[in-house]
């Protein structure tokens, strides 16, 4: 028997995750992502490889979606209108750029789901975690609109299709074991990774990535999706039990990177902010609504609390009540810190964060302001930047990467002046501080997970080919585990564990209930010899491991397990027969 893994997407590439695994005759599809970089049929996984006839219901047992990973496209439109006021050429550029990057990599786990279920016609069950299920329809609908209304492409599926698809979705909780059918059993484990989601003013950071464990008969496997082994302030590290796995399919996005502790970076950030406000300066932190801002907010709120700082922190986007409701609902998906503090005070009810009002901009004295959008690409953050940048005691802290073409990107090179358009030039005298971050696991995290799970085989997906090759070598040499990195549409077959049924004799069963060792008493002669050599401690009783078990085939060709005492009896019988 074997486990066959057919990689339909994310084989030696990033994006379009889709892996079909056949374990002992049961076929499971893990993730059903799409590639946004291409607009033809290559956008979707080649579903015909699953069933040439298109009879997916018999070919597949179920679909499992590990998580969604998406920055909603609507917020791009939001930026679009803001940027347009500044420069016409800039928006077009960033629109296309944003669209390409973000959708490309962030619909890669369920983008093709509706197409597959409604258009191709799969009627079997779909499993995903609660948070994913809660947000998937919003995201899919939004994506459809962008595709059709903005790009003017042919409609692949409509809103009804999304609703229909969602009806087939069964939500699972962490560590809940689900018996899909007689043989197939699945269970979700916390993966620590999160997804980012913004929907106009309802701005949420959504958590809910899971690793899925699937078991058919005696064969077991885990598909990780994206995961994170290092906890941050509001999301914990991945957690899984030690399992006897035949196969582990893991992502390998950062297969060659080792990330340093981010504590040092946080410390620098806090020091910079503290120094600035204690000198009476103002701090501007341009962020995408929440997302990263939320983590920084937790960090700063803690710091303010600890240091008894009275300088106000303003939040322009504001944590809406709705966002809080979502968090309370999804508290199990957050880190230990947030769980700890939840009963006393909601970690997202920041004590030191006040609501932003326009008057704040001109109020003298130190303050910290979180303003959207990030990268200072327009809106409030740009407005505030224009006002505060000419002052030397202002600090602009950029949390994360800034795309080329944005003010944030220009600012990183610390120019003396920034030209927004021919009529607007800003003197830049402020200090700039950058803080980098990424939610994927690094190569050490991957190695640690593999070491902990010690599977018999590893398949790498969702990564660039050179990184996969180097990681594969490392896994093979350090742990001696066979490792594969199939390309798209390739199949890898690994042997699976099969237990053979055998009858056990009564004597054997009886022995099994007792400890499987026997004490052998040394004879007095042996003892006296030993006493001569060392009179300290020599065990007079020695443990003899009594594991000897014999498997015999009886006349009806059935296997039977007997205890070794019985073997002698049976052999004796045979001899007399002869």
């Amino acid at each position: 028997m074997a486990i066959e893994t057919l990689v339909l997407g994310a084989g030696q590439e990033v994006g379009k995750s889709c892996v079909v695994v056949n374990i002992n005759g049961k076929r499971i599809m893990f993730d059903c992502g799409m590639h946004m970089g291409v607009s033809d049929h290559r956008r979707y996984p080649n579903f015909s490889l699953i069933s040439p006839t298109g009879d997916f219901d018999t070919a597949l047992s179920c679909i499992i979606i590990t998580h969604l990973y998406c920055i909603n496209t609507l917020f791009l439109r939001f930026h679009y209108f803001l940027i347009i006021k500044i420069s016409h050429s800039l928006i077009l550029y960033s629109y296309i750029f944003f669209f390409g990057i973000i959708c490309d990599s962030h619909l890669d786990h369920l983008g093709a789901l509706v197409y597959f279920t409604e258009v191709c016609g799969f009627h079997g069950p779909i499993y995903m975690t609660y948070p994913t299920k809660a947000l998937a329809p919003l995201m899919l609908e939004d994506y459809r609109k962008v595709l059709v209304e903005r790009r003017g492409e042919e409609e692949q599926f409509n809103s009804d299709h999304i609703a229909e698809c969602m009806k087939k979705v069964i939500a699972v909780d962490l560590r809940q074991t689900i018996q899909v059918d007689k043989d197939l059993q699945i269970r979700a484990y916390y993966a620590g990774h999160f997804t980012l989601f913004e929907y106009l003013t309802l701005i949420l950071k959504v958590l809910g990535a899971a690793m899925f464990h699937a078991k058919v008969g005696d064969s077991e496997m885990v598909y990780t999706g994206d995961y994170n082994m290092t906890p941050d302030r509001h999301l914990g590290a991945a957690q899984i039990d030690r399992l006897r796995l035949d196969l582990l399919i893991t992502e390998s996005t950062y297969g060659t990177t080792i990330r340093d502790s981010k504590y040092a970076r946080e410390r620098e950030f806090l020091d910079a902010v503290h120094k600035c406000v204690s000198a009476g300066g103002k701090v501007l932190i341009p962020t995408f609504g929440l997302g990263r801002a939320q983590e920084l907010c937790i960090l700063m709120d803690d710091y303010w609390e600890r240091m008894n700082l009275k300088v106000p922190i303003y939040f322009s986007a504001g944590l809406t009540k709705q966002a809080n409701v979502y968090y309370k609902m999804l508290i199990n998906w957050t880190s230990q810190k947030i769980k700890d503090s939840y009963p006393t005070n909601n970690a997202f009810d920041f004590k030191n964060v006040c609501k932003y009002e326009r008057s704040v901009l001109d109020t003298p004295g130190p303050c910290v302001l979180f303003a959207s959008p990030g990268m200072i690409s327009g809106g409030l953050s740009l407005e505030v930047f224009k006002r505060w940048a000419p002052f030397e005691n202002t600090l602009v802290a950029l949390p994360g990467y800034c795309l080329p073409g944005t003010v944030g990107h220009v600012l990183m090179s610390k120019p003396p002046k920034i030209e927004l358009d021919p009529n607007t030039k800003i003197d830049v005298r402020c200090q700039v501080h950058q803080l980098a971050f990424s939610p994927h696991t690094d190569s050490k995290g991957i190695m640690d997970l593999i070491k902990f799970l010690s599977p018999k085989h590893v398949i790498l997906v969702h990564g660039e080919k050179p990184k996969m090759v180097s990681l594969k070598e490392k896994i093979h040499s350090e742990m001696g585990i066979p490792c594969y990195h199939p390309a798209n549409n390739e199949t890898v077959s690994v042997p699976s564990t099969v237990y053979v049924k055998a009858q056990a004799s009564d004597a054997f069963m009886e022995r099994c209930l007792k400890p499987n060792f026997k004490l052998h008493k040394c004879s007095s002669q042996e003892l006296s010899i030993k006493t001569l050599t060392d009179k300290n401690i020599v065990p007079e009783l020695q443990v003899i491991n009594e594991k000897a078990v014999f498997i015999v085939e009886d006349k009806s060709k059935k296997l039977k397990v007997v205890h070794n005492d019985e073997v002698l009896v049976m052999l004796g019988e045979k001899k007399t027969e002869d």
């Binding site: 302030r233 502790s261 946080e266 240091m307 700890d340 065990p539």
Partner: protein
């Protein structure tokens, strides 16, 4: 009430009728009324004993289903009526053998009752133990494993193999309990064979990858407990390299499981890392970096193998989601930072990150670790860290603030700016946390005492501000004023020089007396502080008066002197003025003693002559501190104690003297301190059997050194008073006992013999003075009397118990002590001007010898050694020396007979005295000294060169 009496009547009826012949099963109701009677304290004894009898009878005759209730009643009865406990134990024990074949739940219930009744662990014979451990029933086995080694005593020789077998059980909780029982076994250190310990350790390693969390936790524990056991065993038989190799292996093994998915496993791993005793520096550094390090020199084979396991282990711990793990990492850093200075510096970076943790517990632990590092002299706060560290002083948790201030007390700031910013933060602290005032004042007083030079720089500034405030020219902030005053007055405190602090400051300070006196409570009380302030401010009137001339009243009065010496963090030098004897010197009153603040590198450079009696007083007040620090040694604060000892030693060495008497006393005190220091260093190892003070100490070396020093103390000093003599003898007994705790059987008899001699001497002294022997000596005496065949029959445990009774005597030395020493000089000899010799002929070595305090009936020798190990002794006839008082002088050409066939050679010459105390074994019979020699001076090298 009615119900009770009905019950009682019923019970009486039952007891009367229930004779052994006509036994009836006990009903539920009877049980309840028996229980009532047992619990009721006024039940007559006769009733209780008849209940007891009935219960025992019914055990024999009632159905097995009732037994558990009956046993429960018997256990309760025994705990309420202890007089019956022994009887109950005997009866139950006699019934036990009938129940063991095969062992069942009932057997366990009997055993459980036995264990509950007995106050001591119950001994179980081998056959019962094995039959229970091999029983088919799982709960029966579990009970036995869980209780073995704690409530049930089994021979370790039997227990070990059974437990090892149990670790392979299919039931996870049995595996877990078996490992826990092994840990208990390991902690008792019953193993004396490396292979057993190794076997256990290897099983622990195997089970680190067990599927069950609970088993993995216990496996980690086994690993580090046995690492300690293994290390202890190897100490005797292997060299340092082997030990380091093994410790590195264990370290890497523990590091490899730091990413376990179970939080408790991770916590346990870091607890284990905190118990490491030796780890190579490279591996320690690797644990701070997630990337595999590229070393400067070619890495060892072991490092290459282990590096990837160790990589970033501590960083992962600090990044952990659970505060329990982060806290445990900080704790483990306490011991790890002691192992390598370089690592300590690198780990500080990690600790600075932890100071941003959101959990108070973690921040607090990080600071405690830093404090521990500071005590061990491995905390170096660079300027870039100082900023962050000062932030912590403003933390809103009071524990964190107190802990941070504890570190400030020990700080030695490098420059004026840092000092200023620290001071500012503390003053700001005062505004934000007025409740901390007392602590802040105390920190400021330490800061001032430690940084006199910086306080001097801002003295005028402070004076201006204070004066302006007092005169009403500024807003009066009393807390700030008090703080500034504390800082100013603490700088010249204990300092004899004229300081730039204007005397008016001291007058101002006096007005705040009640508020600021707590800041100095470690060195003086309120009254003495007032005296000090008055004295300092009085110089306002006569500014040219130098207080150090002894005219003013010194603030240090009787009680406070001891405290001054206890303030170990002050690197101070004793400067004692001549004072011309105007002031009466009482025993403790060191009126002329003043401790002057100096940067540490200055210590020992400026030696000044001091008055004899003052020195003696000073030495005494150091010595009287010793008994006070002893509880700290016993409660494992050895580091702190060592710090104090080191400091006192420094002070003693910095003294110079006019005459020989104080020099002799000081030499005695110094040696006494050295011995105590060595004792403290080995104490943890031998008595507490726990962490070592420093990672790479060689215990054997230390014991060897201790032995030598003890001999020196015994032989090189004379003129003890009886009290001194007893203290010295007791100390020597202690060193022997320490040795006996450790020694192999062969050397034990020898040491024991020597100890017996010293003991007899002590005993006779005590009898002479009709004194009572201390607990330690008495216990040792009984041990010596018990053991007829030398020390071999006594277990090291017995000596351990003696040691626990030891505490140093309150010792006060008088002037009578004389130091036996010699001065040897060989005129006109150096490598360039060697003495001539002809091979085969006797060479003459001209020596100028001066010996002190040695009477003519002593046997002194000149010892000459050549590099090949040959030693020649020449007897010194003390009669022929020139005598002037206690000093004898001679210029003497010492003959050296065995001149080699070489062009040139070196000879090590020194003077030795035969030690008459312990002539247990004659050392050399052929013409040389009859007893062991005690060297009286340093060895001198004589250069000889062949003539033609």
């Amino acid at each position: 009430m009615l119900c009770c009496s009905v019950n009682f009547l019923f019970l009486c009826f039952f007891l009367q009728n229930n004779t052994p012949e006509s036994i009836q099963p006990i009903s539920m109701q009877t049980f309840t009324s028996m229980m009532n009677e047992i619990l009721n304290p006024s039940t007559p004894k006769s009733t209780v004993s008849s209940i007891f009898k009935t219960l025992i009878h019914s055990l024999l005759h009632s159905p097995e289903s009732h037994h558990s209730q009956i046993l429960k009643l018997i256990a309760d009865l025994s705990s309420h009526h202890p007089s019956l406990a022994q009887l109950a134990l005997d009866s139950l024990q006699s019934m036990l053998p009938q129940l063991t074949d095969p062992p069942s739940q009932l057997t366990i219930e009997y055993l459980d009752a036995l264990v509950n009744i007995s106050e001591r662990p119950v001994e179980v014979d081998d056959s019962l133990f094995t039959s229970i451990c091999l029983a088919a029933s799982f709960p029966v086995r579990l009970w036995m494993v869980r209780n073995s080694g704690c409530r049930v005593m089994v021979r370790p020789e039997l227990l070990y193999p059974v437990l090892m077998g149990m670790t392979k059980e299919p039931y996870p909780c049995l595996r877990e309990e078996a490992l826990e029982a092994l840990v208990r076994l390991g902690e008792c250190a019953v193993f004396e064979e490396v292979s057993l310990v190794k076997g256990c350790y290897e099983r622990g390693v195997q089970l680190l990858s067990d599927n069950e969390d609970c088993v993995r936790i216990s496996a980690v524990r086994v690993l580090y407990v046995f690492q300690v056991a293994l290390w202890g065993l190897m100490l005797a038989s292997f060299n340092v390299d082997t030990k380091t190799y093994w410790s590195n292996e264990v370290f890497a093994m523990l590091c490899s499981v730091v990413r376990d998915m179970n939080m408790k496993v991770r916590v346990e791993v870091f607890n284990g890392l905190g118990k490491m005793e030796i780890v190579s520096k490279e591996l320690l550094m690797q644990s701070l970096s997630k990337r595999v390090l590229v070393l400067d020199q070619s890495p060892t084979e072991q490092f290459v193998l282990l590096a990837s396991n160790v990589a970033g282990a501590l960083v992962h711990g600090v990044e952990d989601e659970f505060f329990e793990v982060r806290k445990s990492v900080c704790q483990s850093l306490r011991t790890l930072t002691v192992l390598s200075v370089e690592f300590a510096h690198a780990a500080l970076n990690l600790l600075m990150d932890v100071l941003n943790d959101y959990k108070v517990e973690v921040r607090f632990q990080a600071l405690e670790t830093m404090h521990h590092m500071a005590i061990n002299h491995c905390l170096e706060l660079q300027e870039n860290y100082m900023h962050k560290f000062l932030d912590v002083l403003e933390d809103n948790s009071s524990e964190v603030r107190f802990s941070a201030r504890k570190i400030v007390r020990l700080m030695k700031l490098r420059n004026h700016l840092l000092f200023k910013s620290t001071m500012d933060v503390l003053l700001k602290n005062l505004d934000s946390y007025p409740q901390d005032e007392a602590d802040i004042f105390s920190v400021l007083s330490h800061l001032g005492r430690n940084h006199k030079q910086f306080v001097d720089l801002i003295a005028n500034e402070i004076a201006d501000e204070v004066e302006a405030s007092f005169e009403g020219n500024r807003e009066f902030n009393s807390a700030r004023m008090a703080a500034l005053l504390v800082l100013s007055i603490s700088a010249p405190f204990l300092n004899a020089d004229v300081c730039p602090i204007p005397p008016v400051i001291f007058s101002f300070a006096a007005t705040f007396l009640s508020r600021i006196c707590c800041a100095f409570s470690d060195v003086m009380n309120r009254d003495t502080l007032l005296e000090y302030l008055i004295q300092k401010s009085s110089s306002m009137v006569q500014p040219e008066v130098n207080i150090s001339n002894g005219e003013g009243q010194n603030p240090l009065a009787k009680d406070d002197v001891q405290n001054v010496a206890g303030n170990e963090m002050i690197h101070s030098e004793i400067t004692i003025n001549n004072g011309e004897g105007q002031l009466p010197l009482s025993k403790y009153n060191v009126q002329n003693v003043a401790l002057e603040m100096k940067p540490p590198n200055d210590v020992g450079q400026h030696k000044r002559p001091v008055h004899d009696s003052v020195v003696l007083t000073y030495i005494n007040y150091i010595l009287v501190k010793l008994p006070n620090i002893w509880p700290k040694v016993q409660s494992c604060s050895a580091n702190e104690v060592l710090c104090s000892l080191r400091h006192w030693k420094e002070e003693l060495t910095s003294l110079t003297f006019d005459s020989s008497a104080p020099a002799d006393a000081s030499a005695f005190a110094l040696l006494y301190l050295k011995i105590i220091k060595l004792v403290v260093e080995v104490w943890d190892h031998l008595v507490r059997k726990t962490e070592v003070v420093s990672g790479t100490v060689e215990l054997e070396d230390k014991l060897e050194k201790l032995d030598g020093r003890a001999k020196e103390l015994m032989n090189r000093f004379i003129g003890f008073s009886a009290e001194e003599e007893i203290s010295v003898l007791e100390l020597i007994l202690l060193t022997y006992t320490l040795r006996l705790c450790r020694s192999e059987i062969c050397s034990r008899n020898f040491i024991f013999k020597r100890m017996t001699i010293i003991y007899l001497r002590t005993e006779s002294f005590l009898k002479l003075r009709s004194d009572v022997a201390s607990g330690f000596v008495a216990e040792l005496g009984s041990l010596i009397r018990e053991s007829s065949n030398g020390g071999a029959s006594c277990s090291s445990l017995a000596f351990d118990n003696c040691l626990k009774l030891f505490s140093p005597k309150r010792l006060m030395i008088r002037e009578g002590i004389r130091h036996r020493r010699a001065e040897l000089s060989i005129p006109n000899n150096c490598p360039d001007y060697p003495l001539p010799f002809a091979p085969g002929l006797t060479a003459s070595i001209p020596c100028d010898i001066t010996i002190h305090n040695i009477s003519s009936n002593c046997r002194a020798w000149v010892r000459m050694c050549i590099n090949d190990g040959f030693t020649q002794h020449v007897y010194l006839d003390l009669q022929s020396f020139e005598v002037s008082g206690e000093v004898r002088k001679i210029s003497y050409a010492v003959p050296y007979y065995r001149t080699p066939e070489l062009d040139s050679f070196n000879l090590k010459v020194c003077i030795g005295l035969e030690s008459l105390f312990e002539n247990v074994t004659p050392v050399q019979a052929h013409g040389g000294p009859k007893c062991e020699l005690v060297l009286l001076c340093e060895e001198k090298i004589v250069y000889l060169s062949r003539v033609l």
